[in-house]
Symmetry: C2
Subunit: 225 residues, 2 copies
Amino acid sequence: MHTTLPDRVIARLVGYRRLLEQLHGDGVVYVFSHSLAQLCGVTAAQVRRDVMELAMLGNPAKGYRVEELLSRIVAIMDPPHAQKAVLAGAGRLGSALVSYFNEWSPKLKIVGVFDSAPSKIQSVVHGHTCRPLSELSRIVRRQKVDVGIISVPAEAAADVAARMIEAGVKGILNFAPVKFDVPGDVYVEQADLTVAIERVAYMARHCVDRDPRNAEGAASGAVSE
Amino acid sequence: MHTTLPDRVIARLVGYRRLLEQLHGDGVVYVFSHSLAQLCGVTAAQVRRDVMELAMLGNPAKGYRVEELLSRIVAIMDPPHAQKAVLAGAGRLGSALVSYFNEWSPKLKIVGVFDSAPSKIQSVVHGHTCRPLSELSRIVRRQKVDVGIISVPAEAAADVAARMIEAGVKGILNFAPVKFDVPGDVYVEQADLTVAIERVAYMARHCVDRDPRNAEGAASGAVSE
DNA sequence: TAGTGTGAAGCCATTCACAGCG
DNA sequence: CGCTGTGAATGGCTTCACACTA
């Protein structure tokens, strides 16, 4: 198995897992690559490739055992012990993110919310008392936090990132519309909403059919391929 | 020039534009590919390629004219007339998005906010009166909206997307953790925060140096391969 | 001489296509 | 038969390398 899976694969595994949990809950025992593919919006070949990465074998007659596939993905994706994160920037977006991740990423525990504005300090953001940025480093170090979420304005982002990295964070989810360079052992995921919306707006204006396999009839029956 | 630029290019252009605006404001007149590259976190070769897409020429002695480069990017990225968007799902994330886009994407105007919860209807979300989802279609059609933003729960997303598409939206920014299939002339950008955070968490746990140009310090000789 | 412009090469990720098997 | 497993082919994006120019 790869030391670390490519990030595209990780993204798809998250999708598969969601579907598999649902199927498993529904009592489905086996699933074919093409069913899973359809449900996740990828190709069947892609699913088979990804399954190969998991070093798992399916059965030509029945497909893949849902439970087994699910447990392999969980083994890869879920941390052995709960992973901790801090969030910097308790503005509107920041506090929405706190509640979002609290609700939807139970495996990742937010252990600190920080902001520089005196007006925010000590306010309670969805159960977390907001602290001054100066305390970020201490908390990260003491609690061995390895994920940081940045939702501060662009001007402040580089400084916040530097603090996080210096304190030992290894992964950063950055919502600020700037890039900063980081040591090679730190992973930064850009979640730049400005880029996202501009891209959508651009594509919407240039809407030409760029789908090779056009065929509307999603509703029609078999996937004849 | 391409009919429609690849989305990776679009993302970088947004980054260049931000930097160029700043440089232009600072009175800088020319910029070299490697300066811009460094500031945007890409390679110089990449910048030159992208500039080539814009069919623009630089000057080996001085670099690129900031103003010219900026205006070409703006010409491509900015819509001729203000583009309209609707947002479905006025929860915490949704309302944070409304204020975020109001503030940071002045070229895109949100003309409607929708939700299905009776408790939300008629409430005012950052200046927008929240309306029932049943009115989405009418508004989209009447105002010729071509961008939709989805921040409803996963279960409701497919239905909302279908309404938007049926009413004529050509680009969707989807924050719900599901995929839906769409006609080939509709562009969907997944902004799945669950995937983003899981990916960061995974990478943080597997933090190995994956930077090729790490260089000096330790190791022996040149990068032999 | 340092930087641009660009064909060619390299690198991935995805898809194809087909052997093998229940 | 239809589906899995997988080498080979494809295609797109990025980087290299070098002729060219101010």
